[in-house]
């Protein structure tokens, strides 16, 4: 059988099985309905919030969008390029590794097919990002909706290029033993770009002005991928010119070039993709709540550790957490993220101190952190432990096991929130009670999220359901756990006309809910199963 036909046929079966699965399990349709609602909400938000900015606002907005695109595109592109000198990208699954790779199907054709397939699916999938970004863009500047396809294609072309380019860079590095040289070249590129931005800031004498000017410099538009993508993206904002089409054609020629060159270079790439494919499979398991997940820390891995015993029974969990964090971070409780929170606190403090809204900055920053915790703590310490049998086996009270297995994470998050709020408090001269409220709010919010994960595990026992019904999880979390605090906080703030009381109210209700959850821990724990 023709090799491309074979691969297309396999994907056809997979697609058909998805539909069959929905037919056998129609509750999955509910999930897709929720996604549709979400997309609808995004579009509604986009239309409802559209206002016509003045010419001056639009001009400044256009500069901000242009600079934002260039800055983010450059950061994303350079980071990806650097990463590609360390590890290949992958277009494969573990099934491909074990079933397809050993077959007599040409590796080149497997690669070409998989690259094109991934590019096509990404064109569709990334459209949600653009939809999510649109309200923000529309709030800042005027957008000609007639040229919306350019905005979309400019954005998507950047994302599409990255995976094939990464693959190509790694393949060339492997084939000609050039990994180190390529790494040095990418680091030189990063250094040049950073120096250029620094020079722009120094030359203009103002941070924001320098960044805006530097990132909107006309010469940047001639750069492949970043510049060409920007020209296409900005067509919807600045208007159409011949350059819009030229940029678009160049972007897709670049993408085609990457794919063709990868196809020609890669004849022995299987080993290169093993690690990345295994990691992708692991991430999928983590999303389904059945794999180990730890916070991102780009630091080191220490082998020789000597962590003394921290007690017996449930405290073995705390000891284990301490060993893991000591191995992968600066310090078991003060890690890489504490540094990031500290820097964020200092940066926000400095900028907010220049303006008038000191307290608003404190509220907003803590609100954003709570929002991030809400979305990203969906699988963490609790999931990590529940994925292993020990929490079910170690003889101790369930309450202590829960505390023991989560304490290190709670201490780390407390340190992070302290690191954020202390510089904010000092730089913005925020009253001490307000800062204490913020810290209690952040920590209680984090602990509540840990409890929420625990509850979802009880409500949706099947890991496949957990994965499929993720949006429903979030809604349940909001309704059951977050809404009471928000209502109480809102009422308090309205009665006493003090916004800090929103956070205080939420923190108090959070603590009450955490207490109830802990009191009920024995009953809740009895309903858990190791899956």
């Amino acid at each position: 059988m023709n090799e491309f036909r074979l691969l297309a046929r396999r994907d056809g079966w997979i697609m058909a099985n998805y539909f069959l699965e929905i037919k056998h399990n129609p509750k999955r349709l509910g999930v897709y309905f929720l996604y549709l609602l979400w997309i609808g909400a995004l579009v509604f938000n986009m239309v409802a919030r559209y206002r016509n900015p003045t010419e001056i606002q639009a001009q400044l907005g256009s500069q901000i969008i242009g600079a934002g695109f260039t800055g983010l595109a450059a950061a994303f592109f350079l980071y990806s390029l650097y990463h590609s000198t360390l590890e290949s990208s992958t277009f494969f699954t573990m099934g491909d590794l074990h079933l397809l790779f050993p077959t007599p199907v040409s590796p080149k054709k497997v690669l070409l097919y998989s690259m094109v397939k991934q590019s096509l699916s990404h064109i569709f999938l990334y459209s949600f990002f653009i939809l999510a970004l649109m309200p923000l863009i529309l709030n800042i500047t005027k957008v000609n909706l007639q040229h919306f396809p350019f905005l979309y294609l400019g954005f998507i072309s950047l994302l599409l290029v990255v995976a094939p380019l990464n693959f190509l860079v790694f393949a060339i590095g492997s084939k000609y033993g050039l990994h180190r040289r390529l790494q040095q070249a990418v680091l030189a590129l990063i250094a040049v770009f950073t120096l250029y931005l620094a020079w722009s800031i120094i030359a203009s004498g103002d941070l924001w002005q320098g960044l805006l000017q530097g990132l909107n410099a006309p010469w940047l538009c001639y750069l492949p991928v970043i510049g060409w993508g920007k020209v296409v993206f900005m067509t919807a904002v600045t208007g159409y010119s011949a350059w819009s089409t030229i940029g678009l054609v160049l972007q897709f020629l670049f993408l085609a070039g990457c794919i063709i060159l990868s196809y020609r270079t890669a004849d022995d790439y299987y080993e290169d993709t093993l690690k990345a494919t295994a990691q992708r499979a692991l991430r999928r398991k983590q999303r389904a709540g059945i794999g180990k997940k730890r916070g991102f820390s780009p630091t080191f891995s220490r082998k020789n550790l000597s962590i003394p015993k921290m007690g017996s029974g449930p405290w073995a969990f705390l000891w284990r957490s301490k060993v893991e964090y000591s191995r992968s971070d600066f310090h078991p409780y003060l890690g890489f993220w504490a540094l990031i929170f500290l820097l964020a606190g200092i940066a926000v403090g400095i900028f907010a101190a220049k303006g008038a809204g000191g307290l608003t900055a404190v509220y907003t920053t803590n609100g954003i952190i709570a929002y991030i915790i809400f979305f990203f703590s969906a699988s963490n310490a609790t999931q990590h432990e529940l994925a292993k049998p020990y929490i079910f086996l170690i003889p101790a009270s369930n309450l202590l096991k829960i505390v023991g297995s989560n304490l290190a994470d709670i201490l780390r998050m407390s340190a992070n929130i302290l690191a954020l709020n202390i510089p904010l408090g000092i730089l913005l001269k925020v009253p001490l009670p307000t800062i204490i409220i913020m810290i209690v709010f952040g920590v209680s919010f984090y602990i509540l999220n840990l409890g929420a994960n625990f509850l979802t595990r009880i409500i949706f026992r099947n890991t496949l359901d957990q994965k499929a019904l993720y949006p429903l999880f979030l809604m349940l979390q909001v309704l059951l756990l977050l809404l009471p605090g928000a209502v109480v906080g809102g009422v308090l703030a309205f009665l006493f006309q003090n916004p800090a009381l929103v956070f205080a109210g939420i923190a108090v209700v959070n603590i009450i809910i955490i207490g109830i959850l802990l009191l009920l821990s024995n009953k809740l724990f009895a309903r858990l199963e190791w899956t």
């Binding site: 074990h98 079933l99 050993p102």
Partner: protein
């Protein structure tokens, strides 16, 4: 059938397989044994082409091992079965049949599924199968193309007793058909009466490569000595 000469495989600076050479002829069933981390899986994965060799040569039926001609001549059953989650058991076999151009695969596939008690599961998605069942599907996929050389990496792990017996029977049938099998395993008793030849790897090097009978003779043991005892004897640290 399979010729490995001076094969070396390194992971960065760690030598996983160190300059090994061996040849398997038609009809050979060779057991690839060794303690954990000896380099057994690495050797098999390198022969299959999943890993790149640092030096040496591997040929399958006189063809370089990564060539299409070579790949038509062998199949591989990995240690941890990873299937396509959204394909059914039957579709896996169909996919393999198309990939290897197996004519009239339906009858062969049906026979294999029946032998491994999978016939009633043929319409199940891979993600709905237990680990042992996945392993059985993986073995069926490896057997379906009926190649000249079979590379098995720990095939018995997770199998129920009936499937272990079936696999052993199939090994014997394949050997009678002059097919070549290289099987890596820790379950020594499961291959004790199957392998005519034993390759023992230790720290990436082949420390024993001889016929089972010869090995027993050289170690001065009687017929009653088990493969396990022989293995422990040859891999014992000095």
């Amino acid at each position: 059938m399979l010729k490995v000469e001076g094969l070396t495989k390194k992971y960065r600076n760690i030598v996983a397989v160190d300059n090994i050479s061996f040849t398997l002829n038609r009809g050979d069933i060779a057991g690839l044994l060794g303690p954990n981390g000896a380099g057994k899986s690495t050797t098999i994965k390198t022969i299959v082409g999943l890993l790149r060799k640092n030096s040496g040569s591997i040929t399958v039926g006189d063809h370089p091992h990564t060539s299409r001609d070579a790949k038509k001549k062998f199949t591989y059953v990995p240690e941890a079965p990873e299937l396509y989650d959204m394909l059914t058991v039957w579709e896996h076999l169909q996919f393999i049949a198309y990939a290897y151009d197996v004519a009239g695969f339906e009858d062969k596939a049906e026979r294999l599924l029946e032998r491994f008690d999978l016939w009633d599961k043929k319409d199940k998605l891979a993600k709905e199968l237990s680990k042992g069942m996945k392993q059985k599907v993986s073995i069926c996929c490896g057997l379906l193309p009926e190649p000249l050389l079979y590379l098995f990496d720990e095939p018995m792990i997770g199998l129920d007793p009936k499937s272990i017996r079936e696999t052993k029977l199939i090994f014997k049938e394949l050997s009678a058909q002059q097919k070549t099998i290289l099987v890596s395993t820790h379950l020594l008793d499961s291959i004790e009466n199957l392998c005519g030849r034993v390759l023992v790897l230790k720290q990436g090097k082949i420390i024993v490569d001889m016929a089972m009978e010869e090995m027993k003779r050289k170690l001065g043991n009687s017929e009653s000595v088990s493969l396990e005892e022989l293995f422990l004897e040859v891999t014992r640290d000095e």
